[in-house]
Every structure is written in structure tokens, then in C-alpha cells.
Assembly symmetry: C2
Homo-oligomer: 313 residues x 2
Amino acid sequence: MTQTVSAILDWGTSSLRATLLSTDGLVLDRCESPSGGIQFVEGGAFEAALMAAIGPWFAEHGPFPVTACGMITSRSGWVEVPYVDAPAGPAELAAGAKRITLQNGATMTFLPGLRDPAAKPFPDVMRGEETQIVGYGLAEDHTLVLPGTHSKWARIENGRIAAFQTYATGEIFALLTRHSFIARAAEPAPGSKPLWSAFDRGAEFAASDEPAADALLAAVFSARSGVLAGALQPEDVADYVSGLIIGSEFRQARAAGWLHPGEAIGIIGNTALTLRYGRVAPLFDVKIKPGPDDAATLGVQRITGKLQSTEQE
Amino acid sequence: MTQTVSAILDWGTSSLRATLLSTDGLVLDRCESPSGGIQFVEGGAFEAALMAAIGPWFAEHGPFPVTACGMITSRSGWVEVPYVDAPAGPAELAAGAKRITLQNGATMTFLPGLRDPAAKPFPDVMRGEETQIVGYGLAEDHTLVLPGTHSKWARIENGRIAAFQTYATGEIFALLTRHSFIARAAEPAPGSKPLWSAFDRGAEFAASDEPAADALLAAVFSARSGVLAGALQPEDVADYVSGLIIGSEFRQARAAGWLHPGEAIGIIGNTALTLRYGRVAPLFDVKIKPGPDDAATLGVQRITGKLQSTEQE
């Protein structure tokens, strides 16, 4: 059967995002279903959640191939797909995919996550980011950062993802500003701009030659001592901590060998985070190279291009 | 008037602890009043809270001198006492004290906190720990650690506290195990013993030669990746994180110059924390030297021994 369309699902814990593509890879439609997020789907009713989101597309086009990546392929998702070990590129990821047939006859493919067995102290894992990295492109040997709750730093070598490491930057920021005694801060008003002077102060300390900048457990206390000293205003705290923690991520990534002065590193992230990471990068004498807007969709297309020989489950 | 007794108050945010001493420094009585904690005292009714706690002692002995240290001397306490700058010993701390007269005619002295103006990026502060350090003793030039929510590492030189740095170790541990996605853990059952094998795994990684051990934002994610890899059991997580974070505190304190292999460092902490810190110390080739049980009381006595010439407010 010739399909004229296909769908790509970025299906995570908190929402299901779907993109309808033409055979030429043009985006025909998009939808996002917060109620389709894995945490909201009860009793394993994933197929019903999928139909609630993209049933109208099937009604219009008939059965067409669907490919999913993200936490929907984890143990708590619909079909658990074992991690593929790095180094891996599109071919290895395609070989690790699993397929099922939906009740309407459409084929649904679940892409695997990626594991770095050489990471210390335990193998590191990602699920979804590997697909974005493939979408960014693997032609060049370089380092990529994917900022977020659990940022990923990855090394591309010889057309494959060679290694990666997870930094819990976004989570530590949220814990400090929401729950801590030393840096609890008011939620910024919607649409408010970062206080760049406060952000820069934190980032510049993290990038400085001070030995204390190697002591993150101590450096985070500066959000408190800075206020006590009158050097920071209470409204500065959130952005100061943001600069300090993102700056510390760069400092630690440099210590761990992910970045070297003079390099350009790829970045895949939303606009707000790309702006913050781009502001920190020159303090470490690196440049950032933003990728395409929809790296996940491009990545799924590149991986599914290698899928022909995959067996159904 | 000759007083036959005196009282020392360790008055903090969550409780008021009082010790009644003879002129020879013998402990005659103790009491602890949780409702006297600064956060529970409304409308500045500190004198009433004090009388609720130690009124019976006044009834028995008549007015006697009272000395307080801790957060009761902060802006949110009863009498704010400005920080004294390091380097400082008992004489400098005594010179910074403030006195008031209670309604019953007793003299009450508030001891100052300590500030390190040379700390980076902002002056560092402590309020109460400086008194414990004086109680530990200042005869020897060495490093002291006071583990806790906000651990202090302090350097003793020439009979004074020369410098110090705060590590938010206990707070980061609590944030990770109570609120984080990566390391949320069940509260241990009361009286349960630490899982030392899990603790040691975390501490040994923090003490290892792995470059990843310098990247704390990444290392904390190992609590999650270790469970996913089957290397850690869910019940290991809290003690694994404890070992990892305390080990990282030592690693960072070493990087910041507070400890050097082969040294012995003093420690002032409760039994549970002293056990954990003592287990980590040999991994960094240092020994710990626990101090006297009631360092705060001893410290107040040493500081008040220098108080004679202090003016009343």
C-alpha cells in the first residue's frame, strides 16, 4: 500500500506531540495532547490515547505509518525498547526499533534510547535526545549540548554518537529555587525578561579562576551570602543561580573533557535555554551552533530511512 | 552581686536549648524548648519565651547572667549583633557582643556571628558555629569541619579562626532525596542503620581518579542511572547519595585548599554525621579528631571569660 503521509510522535511523560508529514517530509499538521502524557494514561490505554490525539488524521488519510520516540518506549511506557549502546548512528538505532500493528492496521514503530556503557560510575542513558542529535546531523566530529532538566553533553565522531554524559543542571536549578533555604526565589512573572546582570554575575564566577568555583556545594551558598552581604537583591537570586549553575555545567563539562577552548559546540534546546547557554559559552571561549528547529522530527525521518529491513514484533 | 550560677543559650530557628552552669562550669541542669525556636515566637515576644523556658531557674537562683548565641542574634532574632570579621578569636568575639538587662535585672549577653570578608564570590557568614569552634579549642593550627545543613570548613591559625567556607552539603542531600526526580528516596525507618555498602560506593566514586567525579552536576544523576542499570537498589539510593555528596564535599574542600593528604582535621558534629564523615576521611588520606561533647557551652564560657570590659547597650 502506498502511504501518502506518516506521523511522528514525540511522546513523553507530560505530553504527546504529533507531527503529520507528507512523503516529501513536509509538515502537514501538528497536534499536542497534554492528556496523552504517559503519566496521565491509566491502565495502559495508550492506543486509545493515541487515537484521541491523531484519530482525525487516520479518518482523513487511512492507516499510515507512525513512529514514536521518547519515554513511551521506556518501562513505564507502551512498548519498552531496550537501549542501544553507543557508539551508535541511525543504522544502529533503526536496528534496535520495535514494531507493532495498530487495530486499524497501521504500523507503529518505537525507536530505542541510547546507553553509554563506558560512562562512570554507571552506564548513562538517554531516551529521545539521541533522535534529536541524529536530526541535528552527524557529519561533523564535535560536541553537542542539549540543555534541560537533565542536560546531555554528547560527542559526535565518525557519523555516530560516540559517548555522552548527563548533567542534572535544570533539576538542581529547580530544587534550589523552589525548595531550598539558600536560594528559594519567587517564580518570575510570565513573559518577564531575565535579569542578565544577575545571571552574568553567577556565570562569571563559575567561569573564573577562583578555586572556590570548583566547589559547587560551596558556590551555591553564595546565593544566600550574596543577599546577606547586600551584593544581591532578592529579585536577583533566580537568575544569579541560573548563571551560576549553567556556568558550573560548562566548567564541569570542561573538566570532564567535553569542551575545549576555541571549539564550536552544537546546541539543541528551546529559545530561552539557547539564549542562556549562548551567553555562558564565550566565558569558556567556545561558540554555540544552534541546530534546526525540529531536530526530533528530522531525526526520526533519518532513522526510519534505515528501517526497511526491521522485523515486526 | 555574686552570682552562683549562669546560663548559656543555644537559641536557633527551631528550638531554644539552655544549660545552667555553676561558677565552676559544672552543668547543673539543661532544658530544651522547641516552642522557643525563633520561628515559633510571635510578635517579638522573646523575653516571654525565655522565661517560659528558664523561669524556674530564676525562681530558684534569683537573677544570674545569661549568654546567648545562634540565630537569636540575627536580624530575625531578638537583638541583632553585627558579624565580627575573621581572623577572630575569643577576644574579638567578646568585643563584638551586645548586652541588655532583663526585666528581672539579670544581664543577658548576645554573642556575635563571624564573617569571612575574603571569601569568594561574597563574604561568607556563620552564626553559632564560631562559638563551637572556640569551644573545640584554638591551640593548634589545623582545619575543622562542622557538618550539617550548611557545613562549615574553618582554618585555625595563631589561636584564631583565620578563614572559613560554607558547603550546602546537608541541604543538597535533603533536596535530592526529598524533592528530586533522580534520587527521591523513602525516609529511613527511625533507628535504621545506614546501608554502608551503598554509602561507600558513593563516597568511593567521589574520591576516585575519575574525571567525572569533578562533575557533581553529572555525578548526582548516577543515583538514577545506577538504579536503571541495576547496580543500585531503590533502598540504596539515600545512602549512596549521602556518600556521594559528603565525598564530593571532601573532594571540593581539597580543591579549595581546606585539606591536604596526611593531615588530621577536627570535627564538631552529632554522632551520626561524625560517623559518616569519619568513614569518608580515609578515602582522602586524612584523619578526623572529634572534639568535646558540648563545644558550644565551652565556647561561650571561653568568650564570656573575655567579657568583663564590655559595655551595656
